[in-house]
Symmetry: C2
Subunit: 356 residues, 2 copies
C-alpha cells in the first residue's frame, strides 16, 4: 500500500464558531487529499496538502467532456467524543462502479478508505459537535489531460475535500413539497443514472430550477422510457408506505444505489417490516393516495438522511400525505440512522467505523 | 457592446511546422479569449490574454456537477489567402440553446461572434495552409462557484481556445466500420441530448471504448425509449441513401442539431434531391441493406465534415455499404462543403464569414 505524504498548512484558518450557520458546502477545512493517475504509472503520489486552488489547462478534459465522478459521505462527532464514519466501504465500492462506467481507472478501495480516515483524523478539530452537525466528505476524480478530443483520460486526479456542515433540519423534520416532473428526464436505462457522475446532476438543474420557482423543494423523477415509473426524488432515493407495504423503486440502471437507501431497507427488514424493491408507477401511487392507503413518503440520502414528503403534485392532482406531517416509519428510520451515526444507539450492524 | 481588452504574450510559441502532424486538439495557439459572469454583473471583463492554465477551487461546481457547455467550429485558410469562418452564427445560437438547458446565463451571440473573429484575427498566423488543415475553435462555458451543492452556478467563465489541426483524411476519405450499440444509450428525450454539454460525451465513452477494442471506429446510437430508432453515429449526425430517398433522423430532443447536418440538408435540397428528416428504425435500415436499396451511409460533423460508413454491424448481421467505398452523394457533399469552407467554390448561400 502506498505511503501518504503529509504537508501541513502554515496558515490554519479560523474554525467556524457556533454562531456560524455552516451552510452546506461553503466552508472547507485546512487540508485536502490528492492523488494522481498517469498512464503507465497507475495511481500514485498520495498526499495530504493544504487546501487550495488547483491549476488546470483550459483544455483539461473534465471541463469539456464531463469525465468526473464523486462520492458524498460524512464524519460524525459521536456523543462520547469519538469520530465515526458510516459505511465508507460502500462509498468506495460505488465510486469504483462509477469509475467503471466512466472509463476511469479503478481505485484501491481499502487504501482510499484509509486515506479518508487519515484526512479526517488530521481535520478532526473541524468536526462540529452541535446537534445534527457533521463533517461532509467529498471524494472526487476528474480527467485532466490537456487535450481536446473525446476519449478516456490518461491523466486524472483524485481529491478529497472536507466541509463542516450544519444541521440539515435545524427546526426539526419538516415535510417537503414535491412535484412530479413531466418534461425532463434525469437518466435512462443504458445511461449513467446508477453512477455519481457530473452529467447526472447537470441534467437535473433545469427541472430543479423550475420547481423552486413554483415553490416546490424538489421534483419526483419518472423513468425515461415509459414516463410512468417512479425513480428518485431530487437527488435522493424515495420510499412510500402503502397499506402495510413499504415500496422503493428497484435498481435497474437509471437509479442511484443510495447507501442510506440500502441501510433503510436493511433496518426495515430487521424490524420485520414488509419492504419491497419493485417498480411503482405514478398511477399506482395516485390511486393509493385517493383511497387513503398512501400513509407516508420520504426521500433518503446522505445530506438529509430522511426527508419526509408531505405534499405531492402530479399535474392537477394533489396528494397530501399524512396531513403534511412526518409519519412514524420515517421518524423511526431517522432516529435510528442518526442515532447510529452519532453513536447514541448501539451499532449492531457494524456500519460505523471509528477514526482514531 | 463591451470592449475586448487585449494582452499579447511576451513569449510566442514556435508555430508547428509542415512536418508536424497536428494531431487534433493537441496544439494550442498563443492566446485565448476569456470573459466572466458574476451574478448581478452579467457577462463582463471580456479579454484576450496569453494561453495558459486556469486556477479553480477544487470545489468549483463544473468539476462536480457538469455545468459545462461548448461549441466546435473552424477557421479555414482559403485558397486565395482569406480567413473564413463557417456559419458562426449557428454555433452561437446553439451555444445559447445549450445554455438554456443547463441553466447557464445566455450570451450575447453577436458579441461572441465578434470575439471569435478578433481572436482568430490575432492568431491568423497559426492557421495552417496545407490541404485540409484548419484552425479548430473551442468556445466553452463552465460554472466555477467554489461551492459543494447542486444548483445553477452564479459565477461562470466563458473561454475560447484555438488549435491548429491537420487534415482529417490525409490519405483520402476512408469509409469507417461502425457497430450498432445495443447496451448503452447516449441520451433520451427529456434529457440533454440536443445540447453540447459535457455529460453527453461522458456518457458516450464506455461504448466508444468497447467499439475500439473490437476494431470498430464508432458506434451507431439507438434511441433510449424503444431502442430501435437510429439517432447518431459516434459524435456525428448520420444520413442514409435508401433508394432515391436520403434519410436523416429527425430532431426530437435527444439528437444534436448539427450545423454540418443542417448545411447538408440545405445543399441536398438545393440539388433537387429527396432528403427527409424522419424516424428511421434499425430494422428498416437492415431490410434496405438486405434488398440492395441501402446505397450510402455517412456521418456529418465539424471535424470530419463527411465520414462515409462502409460497414455496419448489428448483432450478427453485417451490412456492407457501397462495397466499402465512398458513394457519389457523400463525395459530392464533401467536395461542396469543403469547397465552400476553403473558398474553392463560390459561396452562394452566404455561409462563410471572412475574418479581416
Amino acid at each position: 500500500m502506498q505511503e501518504i505524504r503529509v504537508e501541513l498548512t502554515d496558515h490554519p484558518k479560523p474554525k467556524p464558531t457556533a454562531a456560524d450557520k455552516l451552510e452546506f458546502g461553503t466552508f472547507f477545512t485546512d487540508h485536502m487529499f490528492v492523488m494522481n493517475y498517469d498512464e503507465g504509472e497507475g495511481w500514485h503520489d498520495a498526499r495530504i496538502v493544504p487546501f487550495g486552488p488547483i491549476e488546470l489547462s483550459p483544455a483539461a478534459m473534465c471541463l469539456h467532456y464531463g469525465q468526473s465522478v464523486f462520492e458524498g459521505m460524512k464524519a460524525y462527532r459521536a456523543v462520547d467524543g469519538r469520530v465515526l464514519l458510516f459505511r465508507p466501504d460502500k462509498n468506495m465500492a460505488r465510486l469504483n462502479s462509477s469509475n467503471d462506467r466512466l472509463c476511469i481507472p479503478l481505485i484501491d478501495e481499502k487504501f482510499c478508505e484509509k486515506a479518508i480516515e487519515k484526512l479526517v483524523s488530521i481535520e478532526k478539530d473541524w468536526i462540529p459537535s452541535a446537534e445534527g452537525t457533521s463533517l461532509y466528505i467529498r471524494p472526487f476524480i476528474i480527467g485532466i489531460d490537456p487535450h481536446i478530443g473525446v476519449h478516456p483520460a490518461r491523466h486524472l486526479v483524485f481529491i478529497i475535500l472536507c466541509c463542516p456542515v450544519g444541521a440539515y433540519y435545524p427546526e426539526g423534520l419538516n415535510p417537503v413539497k414535491i412535484y412530479v416532473e413531466k418534461n425532463y428526464v434525469r437518466a435512462v436505462r443504458g445511461g449513467m443514472g446508477y453512477t455519481k457522475t457530473a452529467g447526472n446532476y447537470a441534467a437535473s438543474l433545469k427541472a430543479q430550477d423550475e420547481a423552486e420557482k413554483q415553490n416546490y423543494t424538489q421534483v419526483l423523477w419518472l423513468d425515461g422510457v415509459e414516463r410512468k415509473y417512479i425513480e428518485e426524488v431530487g437527488t435522493m432515493n424515495v420510499f412510500f408506505v402503502i397499506g402495510d407495504e413499504i415500496v422503493t423503486p428497484e435498481l435497474q440502471g437509471s437509479i442511484l444505489p443510495g447507501i442510506t437507501r440500502m441501510s433503510s431497507i436493511e433496518l426495515l427488514k430487521s424490524w420485520g417490516m414488509n419492504v419491497v424493491e419493485r417498480k411503482i408507477s405514478i398511477d399506482e401511487l395516485a390511486e393509493a393516495a385517493r383511497n387513503g392507503r398512501l400513509k407516508e413518503a420520504f426521500g433518503t440520502g446522505t445530506a438529509a438522511v430522511i426527508s419526509p414528503i408531505g405534499h405531492l403534485k402530479w399535474g392537477d392532482e394533489i396528494m397530501d400525505i399524512n396531513n403534511g406531517e412526518i409519519g412514524p416509519i420515517s421518524q423511526r428510520l431517522y432516529d435510528t440512522l442518526t442515532g447510529i451515526q452519532w453513536g447514541k444507539i448501539k451499532d449492531t450492524f457494524g456500519w460505523t467505523v471509528e477514526v482514531k
